[in-house]
Amino acid sequence: MTALAQQIVSGLAAGGIYASLALALVLIYSAMGLVNFAQGEFAMFSTFIAWALIVALHLPYALAFVGAVLFGFGAGIVLERAVVRPFEKSSPLILVIVTLALFSIANGLAGAIWGYVPKPFPSPFPVTPISLGGVLVSLQDMAVIGITLVVLGLISLFLTRTRLGLALRAAALYPESASLMGVRVGWMLALGWGLASAVGAVSGILVAPIIFLEPNMMQGTIIYAFAAAVLGGIDSPLGAVVGGLSLGVALNLIGAYIPQLADVRLGVALLLLVLVLVLRPAGLLGRPEVSRV
């Protein structure tokens, strides 16, 4: 029983990372009906910034964390305004290509600046397990789960309780009405990109201590994030988190109890992704109409 509980907790920790990147995907998707294929690379780049702040400038972890999140926020806004904006009204194919271009550039730039040799990334949370009612959990895992939930909480507070968050949602769903009410729709989309990249930065910083820091580090995580976002409903922030956490737990349980499937967990996630897309595109918690194609 405790073994099961333990698998669930570490599944939640992995799922928290998928969830935060999935949340980033959902934020952009809800703002403009676009899946940002470069989201993982943005996260990786921000994580390198955090690493540079810690290692080169000797800043404390917390400051570097904030710095990288702010960097992600700013970079998201700038990229949306400078690169994505001219294509806002273009077809999905063109938008996909633009995000793939950003993918390549972010990946290559990181490689050019920091190289492709994996680097250890510090974590202030000890991995030594503590016992919670017989279940051994590491502080590291608890921190990942906790931070994911805090991020989700902050984002939903922002979207529902603040004037700007309200305007952001209106701009995404009803651009014409929103602009008639004085909302600068273009800037709201940029704000969506900024928020998404900031949230993505968090996921990068959380996963880096586990998988090491290098330019290709997010390419596994982004797949799980896609699956999580689609599973939860690609336009639902809560769905992203639910999808991410349940995916993490499910994959961990498969790994522990069905050894034949242990090394095709990626395949399982992708199969799930395709099945949900074909059978129930709205996911678990998304809006059931899929008019935006």
Binding site: L166, L173, E176, S179, M181, G182, V183, R184
Partner: protein
Amino acid sequence: MPLLELNGLQAWYGQRHVLHGVDISVEEGQIVALLGANGAGKTTTLRSISGMVSRSGQMCFNGRPLSRAPADETARLGIAHVPEGRGTMGQMSVLENLRLGAYVRRDRKNVAGDFRRVFEYFPWLAQRQKQAAGTLSGGEQQMLAVGRALMSRPKLLLLDEPSLGLAPLVVRSIVEIVATINRTDGVAVLLVEQNAALALNVAHQAYVLESGRVVLSGKADELSKNESVRRSYLGY
């Protein structure tokens, strides 16, 4: 100087030239009715004012040129446009619709007072604050749209066919509320309305549009006596 002055306004949808020089002026505190057959360009005129179509010509609002202003800027200048089809944000709650109406307000302290005022005009809205706006009836959505526009404390209200698809009784009450708002708050109104009798009844001035041009204009009570207006729009 009038609050809004349009001089030789032209407008296009892509290649399609729709307005061919429209001259209209709206004085402060006035209600101006804009009449015309289907496709005459009434909606396009309103959309030109609020910056939702590409247009040219001289447009002056409150002493400032409008010709380049996009929709969000005209809203900040004090023009509230209730579009054809109401522009309801259906997935958001009634309260959120109203809060967005107040998005441009700088004097946030007074917004609470405006909520109270809107709920006085439309008392049933107060009980439905949490309801998704899309689940309101057509008439209710129209009133919500007017309430939302009021929340921005506009100087000029652009109303596009508030009566579309509504029961006669509801139409009357919406138009009456608009007249009340105009009297008590001094908000100027540019009203597009198919029910010409009703519109001319509350309006001070009126314009008749035909194929993208103004063909008639004058005081509302004079126009309602005009032979051709009576035949074409009033039906007697």
